[in-house]
C-alpha cells in the first residue's frame, strides 16, 4: 500500500509539473511576442507618425490614413455583418424546423470559417470588381470581409443561443409570449456574452487581415474621408505593414505599425466587452 501511494504521488507530481510547464511556455511565448513588438516598435511611434500621411514632398512618414482605413473597414464590415449574422443565427436556432437541412447549413458554415482568407480575397476581387464594377476601396474590401467573417458570427451566435436553457423559452411561451418576444426578452439577453465573443473574434480577423484586402481594398496610403475611401484604394494597417516590409524593407516602421495594431485591437475588445455588459444589464 505504502509503495503504491508513493508511486502515485510521483506520478501526480510529474503530471502537474508537465501541465505547469505547458501553461508556462504558452504565457512566456505570448509575453515575449508582445514584449518584443512593443520594445522594438514603441520607439518608432511619434506624434508625427500617428497624425500625418506619408509624403515625399513634406518629408513626413505617417500612418494616419492606414489607422483611419482600418477603423473604416471595421465599422463598415461590422455594421453589415452583425445584424445579418445574428439574424441568420436566430433563424437557424429558434425558427428553422428542418433538422436535416439545418445540420447541412451548420456544417457548411463551420467549413467556411476555416477557408484561407486569400480565397475570399480572390473571389471578392473577381465578384465585386469585375462583375459589380466596384473599384479598389473600403467598400469592396469591407464586403469581402463581411463574407469572410459571416460564418464566424453565425456560428458563435448559434452556439451561445443554444446555451440558453430551454426552460426559459418554455416559461416565456407558457405565459403567452409570441416567438419573437421570447427571443428578444429572454433568449437574446442571455446570449449576449457569446455574441460579444464572436464580435471580438471577427474584429481580430478584420484587423489582422492582409491577403484578402490586398486584392480588394488596395494599399493606398492617402488621407480620405469615409465616403471617398469607399471607392479609393485604401490600405489598412496590416496591409501597410506588409507594404513597409515587402516593398521598402523598412522593418522599423513595420514594428511601429505592429505596436499600434495591438493597441487598437486591445481597445476595440475592451469596448466590445463594456458594450456587452451594458446590454446584458439592461
Amino acid at each position: 500500500m505504502e509503495h503504491l501511494s508513493w508511486n502515485r504521488r510521483i506520478y501526480d507530481r510529474g503530471l502537474r509539473a508537465l501541465l505547469y510547464l505547458c501553461a508556462g511556455i504558452t504565457v512566456a511565448l505570448l509575453v515575449f511576442m508582445i514584449g518584443y513588438v512593443f520594445y522594438r516598435g514603441l520607439g518608432g511611434i511619434t506624434w508625427e507618425f500617428l497624425t500625418t500621411q506619408r509624403s515625399l514632398i513634406k518629408g513626413t512618414d505617417g500612418i494616419l490614413p492606414n489607422i483611419l482605413n482600418t477603423l473604416y473597414i471595421i465599422f463598415l464590415s461590422m455594421i453589415i455583418v452583425l445584424p445579418l449574422g445574428v439574424g441568420a443565427a436566430i433563424y437557424l436556432t429558434e425558427y428553422a424546423t428542418n433538422h436535416k437541412l439545418l445540420s447541412i447549413i451548420e456544417f457548411a458554415t463551420e467549413t467556411l470559417t476555416g477557408i484561407p482568407s486569400i480565397i475570399f480575397g480572390l473571389v471578392g476581387m473577381l465578384f465585386f470588381q469585375q462583375i459589380m464594377g466596384l473599384k479598389y476601396g473600403i467598400l469592396g474590401g469591407g464586403l469581402t470581409l463581411v463574407i469572410m467573417i459571416l460564418p464566424t458570427i453565425v456560428r458563435t451566435t448559434q452556439e451561445s443561443l443554444k446555451t440558453v436553457p430551454q426552460s426559459y423559452r418554455e416559461g416565456a411561451l407558457g405565459l403567452g409570449a409570441g416567438k419573437w418576444r421570447m427571443v428578444r426578452t429572454v433568449v437574446l439577453p442571455n446570449a449576449v456574452d457569446g455574441i460579444v465573443t464572436g464580435c471580438i473574434l471577427a474584429v481580430g480577423r478584420i484587423v489582422g487581415e492582409s491577403a484578402a484586402l490586398l486584392f480588394t481594398a488596395g494599399m493606398g496610403g492617402v488621407l480620405h474621408n469615409f465616403a471617398d475611401a469607399l471607392t479609393t484604394s485604401s490600405g489598412t494597417l496590416s496591409v501597410a505593414l506588409y507594404v513597409a516590409v515587402n516593398e521598402r524593407g523598412d522593418v522599423q516602421t513595420a514594428l511601429a505599425i505592429a505596436a499600434v495594431l495591438m493597441v487598437i485591437t486591445l481597445l476595440i475588445n475592451l469596448l466590445a466587452m463594456v458594450a456587452g455588459s451594458r446590454l446584458k444589464n439592461k
Binding site: 426559459y168 416559461g171 416565456a172 411561451l173 407558457g174 405565459l175 403567452g176 409570449a177 418576444r181 429572454v186
Partner: protein
C-alpha cells in the same frame, strides 16, 4: 359539474409512438384534478397538450379535441398566445427568468400590453401575495429571482403564472424538485388557489394526490384507466390496475 377543460377522443403520437390513446376527461371548475400514474404513462404529455406546449415538439401528431370553455383549442383560428394566457403552466423545475423578481412577475402582463407602472406595481404585489411569498420578497423586488431558494423560486413561478390572470393553472410535478417544507407550502397554496382557479396537477406522489386533489385520473401506458372523485378512486377503485397501482404493487 361544470367542466372548464374537457378532452374528447384525444389521441397523440410522437412519430410512431402512440403516447395518448383516446382520452376523455373532464376537469371541473374550481377543483383540483390530479393526474397520476407511473413514469412514461402519458400524464405529463397530456398536461402539456392542454396548453399546446407540445407544439414545440417536432413530429408530434394530435387527433381529437380539447375543449376550453366550449372552444376547441386545436381550431386553426385559435391563437396559441390567447390560449396560454388563459391556461397557465407551472413547470417541474422552477424556471424563473434571470431578471429581477419584479420583472419576472411583470413579464406576462407586459407581454399582454400592460405598461403603466402603477398598474404593474399592483399586479406584482397581488400576484406575490396570491402565491404566499410577498412577505419574503417585498423588500428585495429588484434583486435577481435566481438568488432565491428553490421553493421560493417555484412560488415566484406560480406568482408569475397568476399575474396574467389565467382561468386554469397546470402544474407539472411542481413540487418534485423541492424539499418537504417547500412542498407543504405549495400544497397549502394549491388549496387556496382553487377558490379562484381550476387546477390540474401531475404528481408522482400519491399522498400528495390524496391531500390536494378533488378528482383523480389514473393513466397507464397512454390510456386513461379510471377517473373519479379522489376519495372514491383511492377507497373503491373500479379497475384492478388502479387498485394495484395505488396499493403500490407496481409503478
Amino acid at each position: 359539474m361544470n367542466a372548464i377543460l374537457k378532452t374528447e377522443h384525444l389521441n397523440l403520437w410522437y412519430g410512431q409512438n402512440h403516447a395518448l390513446k383516446d382520452i376523455n376527461l373532464e376537469m371541473p371548475q374550481n377543483q383540483v384534478t390530479a393526474l397520476i400514474g407511473p413514469s412514461g404513462c402519458g400524464k405529463s404529455t397530456f398536461l402539456k397538450t392542454l396548453d399546446r406546449m407540445n407544439d414545440l415538439v417536432p413530429s408530434v401528431r394530435i387527433e381529437g379535441k380539447v375543449m376550453y370553455r366550449d372552444q376547441n383549442i386545436f381550431d386553426p383560428q385559435v391563437d396559441v398566445t390567447w390560449l396560454r394566457r388563459h391556461v397557465g403552466m407551472v413547470f417541474q423545475k422552477p424556471n424563473p427568468f434571470p431578471m429581477s423578481i419584479y420583472d419576472n412577475i411583470a413579464y406576462g402582463p407586459r407581454t399582454h400590453g400592460i405598461r403603466g407602472k402603477k398598474q404593474l406595481d399592483e399586479i406584482v404585489e397581488k400576484s406575490l401575495q396570491g402565491a404566499a411569498i410577498w412577505d419574503e420578497v417585498k423588500d428585495r423586488l429588484k434583486k435577481s429571482a435566481l438568488s432565491l431558494s428553490g421553493g421560493q423560486q417555484q412560488r415566484i413561478c406560480i406568482a408569475r403564472a397568476m399575474a396574467v390572470e389565467p382561468d386554469v393553472l397546470l402544474m407539472d410535478e411542481a413540487t418534485s424538485a423541492l424539499d418537504p417544507i417547500s412542498t407543504s407550502k405549495i400544497e397549502d397554496l394549491i388549496a387556496e388557489l382553487k377558490k379562484t382557479y381550476t387546477i390540474v396537477i401531475v404528481t408522482h406522489n400519491m399522498q400528495q394526490a390524496t391531500r390536494v386533489s378533488d378528482r383523480c385520473a389514473f393513466f397507464l401506458h397512454g390510456e386513461l384507466v379510471e377517473a373519479d372523485d379522489t376519495e372514491k378512486l383511492f377507497s373503491v377503485p373500479k379497475d384492478k390496475r388502479t387498485e394495484d397501482y395505488i396499493t403500490g404493487r407496481f409503478g
